[in-house]
């Protein structure tokens, strides 16, 4: 709750500081300081310290899992700001507003990780998505950005409608929006309940871009300014996943049999479409958007399995996937050309950047000793107990993913230098990138450090 409040407040501060402060760097540092404060407050809450004691009237509940997820999200946000903050300055001249929106989104994310009522879920999701429509369209002169924004908006609003219909049907069946009320153990699961649940699942699938409700993702990720794509594809997606898991774990545990099969279908489809379609992409950015779909397919395995292993795994997945993707996007947002060829020979020109990128891609592909492997390992292990075939399919698709992730590594390491105008990789950036890469490796070697925080 600490972080949620301060996040909203800091958003307001950022909003107004735009009037007073003109130097973008200062704004950025202010935002970074804000995220650090949030992180600190969140950590404090993990230790049981509250800023103000608020009665949430059963609307929100910040349990250990939610707090840890928040910590991961905030840490990702921090790293995101550190790496990509300066790239944000180049989009329009509304940096303070963008940063404010980011903080508002942050508040929304902390709501969806800790909601106890469907109302909060709805509000949280809207608080996340409405600013995202704006961020997507923030590059106003860019037609692609406009188009992405409008597509995102129309489809997002449509899916909100589905979400609401789902909530309504569930409400009709249960007479309550509280998760505990929905998870009524006495009444049987009627067709109304099932229909509502399915619609909710579809809406959530849309939000996490699971096939066949993923269509907005590639276009929006592609069209949005790269910095914000990075944010959407990582932090936001993970937060929504947390909501997905929380919703189905708390509310629909009893209907497990009714939805598990569907999640399996969604997961398999998502994995298939995400991975296969990514293979033929010519732009790294678009490839990454498909890859984010593919990774969502893996995260869906956590929803599918819905056991301790899965939940722990989602944390790890959140951390490692976000870090790696943020890192890659950070580099990408400093490049002009997003084609694979633009990476040619990067290893010889920027060996450290290339090394960090290679680690990120290895992590996404799930090569051992990177966080990505451990995350996938948890997912597979969680899913394997329920369905061997799904786990095998996921693994096969992981092998397919090698194909497109390694294209970048190939370009960086094995192809001759193509273009000669230098890219803006200063030492600080490179250093931070390497730091993130080290984090990814640490997650891969000692995943228990993160998981262990659940049981402090």
């Amino acid at each position: 709750m600490n972080a949620l409040l301060v996040s909203a407040l800091w958003g307001v501060i950022m909003m107004f500081s735009g009037i007073a402060i003109k130097q973008t760097a200062v704004l950025r540092y202010l935002a970074i300081a804000g995220v650090m404060v949030l992180l600190g407050l969140n950590t404090a809450e993990m230790q049981g310290w509250q800023l103000i004691d608020i009665d949430t009237t059963g609307m929100l509940q910040f349990d250990a899992y939610a707090l840890l997820l928040n910590a991961v999200l905030l840490a990702s946000l921090l790293i995101y700001l550190l790496l990509s903050g300066s790239a944000m300055e180049r989009i329009g001249n509304n940096l303070s507003d963008y940063l404010a929106l980011l903080f508002f989104i942050g508040a929304g994310m902390m709501m969806v990780t800790a909601f106890e009522s469907l109302l909060i879920l709805f509000l949280g999701i809207e608080i996340i998505t409405i600013p995202l429509y704006i961020l997507t369209g923030s590059d106003k002169k860019n037609l692609k950005s406009n188009e992405a924004s409008l597509k995102y908006f129309l489809l997002g609003a449509f899916s909100s409608g589905i979400l609401l219909m789902g909530i309504t049907l569930v409400y009709g069946a249960r007479g309550s929006f509280a998760l505990s009320g929905v998870a009524d153990t006495i009444r049987m699961s009627s067709s109304l309940m099932i229909a509502g649940m399915l619609l909710l699942m579809i809406a959530m699938a849309f939000k996490v871009s699971a096939a066949p409700f993923h269509f907005w993702t590639p276009d929006v990720y592609d069209g949005a300014p790269t910095v914000f794509t990075s944010f959407m594809a990582t932090v936001v997606k993970v937060a929504v996943f947390a909501a997905f898991i929380r919703l189905f774990d708390r509310s629909f545990a009893l209907q497990f049999n009714a939805w598990q099969g569907w999640v399996a279908v969604l997961a398999a489809l998502t994995l298939f479409i995400g991975n296969i379609t990514a293979v033929f992409q010519q732009s790294v950015k678009r490839m990454l958007s498909y890859s984010s779909i593919a990774q969502a397919g893996f995260m869906l395995l956590a929803v599918f399995a819905m056991n301790t292993m899965a939940k722990e795994g989602l944390l790890l997945y959140a951390a490692s996937y976000s870090l790696a993707t943020i890192g890659i996007f950070a580099v990408l947002s400093r490049m002009k050309d997003y084609s694979f060829e633009a990476f040619n020979g990067m290893a010889s020109r920027y060996p450290w950047v290339a090394a960090a990128l290679a680690i990120f891609f290895l992590s996404l592909a799930g090569i051992p000793l990177t966080g990505g492997f451990m995350a996938k390992f948890y997912m597979i292990k969680a899913a394997l107990g329920q369905s061997l075939w799904l786990a095998l399919f996921a693994l096969l698709m992981a092998a397919v993913s090698i194909y497109y992730y390694f294209r970048v590594i190939q370009a960086m390491y094995f192809k001759p230098v193509a273009q000669s105008d230098p890219l803006a990789f200063d030492n600080g950036f490179t250093g931070m990138l390497l730091g993130v890469a080290v984090l990814v490796i640490v997650l891969g070697v000692f995943p228990e450090w993160l998981i262990g925080c659940l049981y402090f």
């Binding site: 597509k151 849309f206 409700f213």
Partner: protein, 634 residues
């Protein structure tokens, strides 16, 4: 005096050391030194063999165990030597003839560069080593080591002049054909190990004795093993159908042909079967097979030899034919007679080859007998020794060939009259082509170039001396096996071999024996006469008829093999490489990749950019999900 047995390892070791010395020091040794090292080591072995031979003759034998070559669990393959009558006899033949040929080679190969000269002797020594290993080994594995070793050395020596593609092709052919036989040998070996768990001769024979025709060792096992060993032997000893490498092997230097492709290596098959005679005696079907294969080989090779014009090719086919005789003997159960023939054959065939070498040497490399003639005047020693060899191989008493061949014919006669008739025919053909060769080479007038005539000269002492020694042996060598019908208390060899090979007791009257001897001798003399009539004054350009052409082209067997075995395999390999591998398996693998790429290309088209389509697809999927959930999944 068992101690001398302990020293047996020096017998193969000495040639090996010689090979190493010559091989590694090839750039530093001069010709004299190389020759010396090569010959002396073999001589040393010969002396040791002689000592051992006398020990064995005195009635001692045994197995000398050195170390465990392989030991796995309870199964072990010891590195051990078997010293008994059979091996000691072979030791003598190998080292004796081997030594002579080494000496001969020092002169014959003298025009080679020192490095190659040393290489030659290294190979030759290595061969002697392998051959000794083959006959000394106390189990099938050690035997096989030698078996493959001699194959290797044969390969190396045939391809000694490696710049000539035809020669290296012949070398490859020899090795590969041998390998076909080796595979059979190996399978037999594995069979033995699997069935009995032992590989030693004595242990295995004891096992067979104990378990024969029981479940642990059925008649099938015996037949399979014996047939497989025999197939192995057909490879090494150039029998049908694997004989074609031997004539080609004449690509090697002539002394090599003498040593390897006449006297020693090719008899390894006979040694193997003689060594395993206990097993073969239990397998009548195999014996039957062996006798027919041997007989057919003898006839076929003899028929080809009649029409060959290369001096070495004639001798090569004659060797194949003689080996066929030996197998015929084995097939009729006359193991001792076969071994006897091995010995005599070693003498006279080595002699003939060395003689031909002397001729070739004199003719400056010419091998076609149609371009020779009348050499008897210039090459006295060679001529006389060659003549002795011819008489010996033709089987005229009291030369060595007569006795060994007579023993075989007698055994065949008792076995089957038809086979006897055919064998006799082969023997007569032998006499005919050998004397054809003799007359064409040494009689009549010289048909070569003037230059060759000018260069004609008798070979140096190092070459003629072995000829003389071998000639003497060709005469007297057969006396160790004079049949009992002629002199009392004879058949010394059979008695000597009796600890290894049980003595056959013929239930045949002396009169029959005399009649057979007379018949064969008489007919042989007739054939010699015929050859003399025909080839005494040979003129080139005699038109050949179709049959002779067929013979000259060796019944087109090589071509046949090429067409029905090598070519199909070669084409198959090409097909596998170009189609199955590239298009099939790799195509499948790549196909999976391509399928992924293809579906990627198609699937991404769904992402058309049209919001309407996106919503439509979403609504459709939603509707379908609800439909399935409510109306199908129930």
């Amino acid at each position: 005096m068992q101690d001398i047995f302990q020293l047996a390892y020096w017998i193969p070791l000495l040639p090996l050391l010689g090979a190493l010395l010559n091989g590694l020091g090839r750039n530093h040794l001069n010709r004299t030194l190389s020759g010396l090292v090569g010959s002396a080591t073999v001589l040393g072995s010969f002396v040791l063999s002689l000592l051992i031979f006398f020990q064995v003759k005195a009635g001692q034998s045994g197995v000398v165990h050195y170390f465990d070559f392989i030991r796995v669990g309870s199964f072990s393959i010891p590195f051990a030597f078997q010293i008994d009558a059979l091996s000691s006899l072979f030791l003598l033949i190998i080292t004796g003839v081997g030594f002579l040929i080494h000496v001969y080679s020092t002169a014959y190969m003298h025009h080679e560069e020192p490095a190659h000269f040393a290489r030659y002797f290294a190979y030759l020594n290595l061969f002697v080593f392998s051959m000794l290993l083959l006959v000394l080994g106390s189990n099938y594995v050690i035997l096989f080591m030698g078996w493959e070793g001699v194959g290797l050395c044969s390969y190396l020596l045939i391809g000694y002049w490696f710049k000539n593609p035809a020669y290296t092709a012949a070398a490859n052919k020899a090795f590969i054909m041998n390998r076909i036989g080796d595979l059979a040998f190996l399978v037999a070996l594995f069979w033995i190990i699997t069935k009995s768990g032992v590989v030693g001769f004595q242990e295995f024979f004891a096992f067979v004795q104990q378990h024969q025709f029981t479940d642990r060792f059925t008649a099938t096992d015996i037949t399979v093993i014996t047939v497989l060993f025999f197939i192995g032997a057909t490879g090494k000893s150039a029998q049908l159908p694997l004989y074609t490498w031997l004539p080609d092997a004449m690509a090697g230097p002539t002394p090599v042909s003498a040593l390897i492709h006449a006297a020693t290596m090719v008899t390894a098959g006979i040694y193997l079967i003689a060594r395993s005679n206990m097993l073969y005696s239990l397998a009548p079907h195999t014996l039957h097979l062996i006798s027919w294969v041997g007989l057919m080989t003898a006839l076929l090779a003899a028929s080809i030899a009649v029409a060959q014009n290369d001096i070495k090719k004639v001798l090569a086919y004659s060797t194949v034919s003689q080996l066929g005789f030996m197998f015929l003997a084995l097939g009729t159960g006359a193991y001792a007679a076969a071994v006897f023939h091995v010995m005599t054959h070693a003498f006279f065939k080595a002699l003939l080859f060395l003689g031909s070498g002397s001729v070739i040497h004199a003719m400056g490399g010419e091998q076609d007998i149609r371009n020779m003639g009348g050499l008897s005047k210039k090459l006295r020693v060679t001529y006389i020794t060659f003549l002795i060899g011819c008489i010996a191989i033709a089987g005229v008493p009291p030369f060595s060939g007569f006795f060994s061949k007579d023993a075989i014919l007698l055994s065949v006669f008792l076995h089957s009259p038809i086979q006897y008739a055919l064998a006799l025919l082969a023997a007569l053909l032998t006499a005919f082509y050998m004397f054809r060769l003799l007359f064409l080479t040494f009689s009549g007038r010289f048909r070569g170039t003037q230059e060759q005539l000018h260069h004609l000269h008798e070979s140096p002492l190092a070459m003629t001396l072995p000829l003389v020694v071998l000639a003497v042996l060709s005469i007297v060598g057969g006396w160790v096996g004079i049949p009992a019908a002629l002199v009392p208390d004879a058949e010394a060899l059979h008695h000597f071999l009796s600890p290894v090979i049980p003595v056959l007791t013929h239930a045949v009257s002396h009169e029959t024996e005399y009649a057979l001897m007379a018949l064969s001798t008489g007919l042989v003399l007739v054939m010699i006469g015929a050859a003399w009539m025909r080839y005494r004054n040979y003129q080139p350009g005699t038109p050949a008829n179709a049959f002779i052409n067929l013979l000259e082209n060796k019944w087109y067997v090589d071509e046949l093999y090429q067409k029905i075995i090598v070519q199909p395999f070669y084409v198959l390999a090409g097909w596998l490489r170009a189609i199955v591998e590239a298009k099939g398996i790799d195509g499948l693998v790549n196909g999976v990749g391509r399928a992924v790429q293809y579906s990627a290309r198609q699937l991404r088209l769904v992402q058309s950019g049209q919001v309407g389509l996106y919503v439509l697809l979403m609504v459709l999927s939603m509707a379908i999900m609800l439909l399935i959930q409510f109306f199908i999944r129930k």
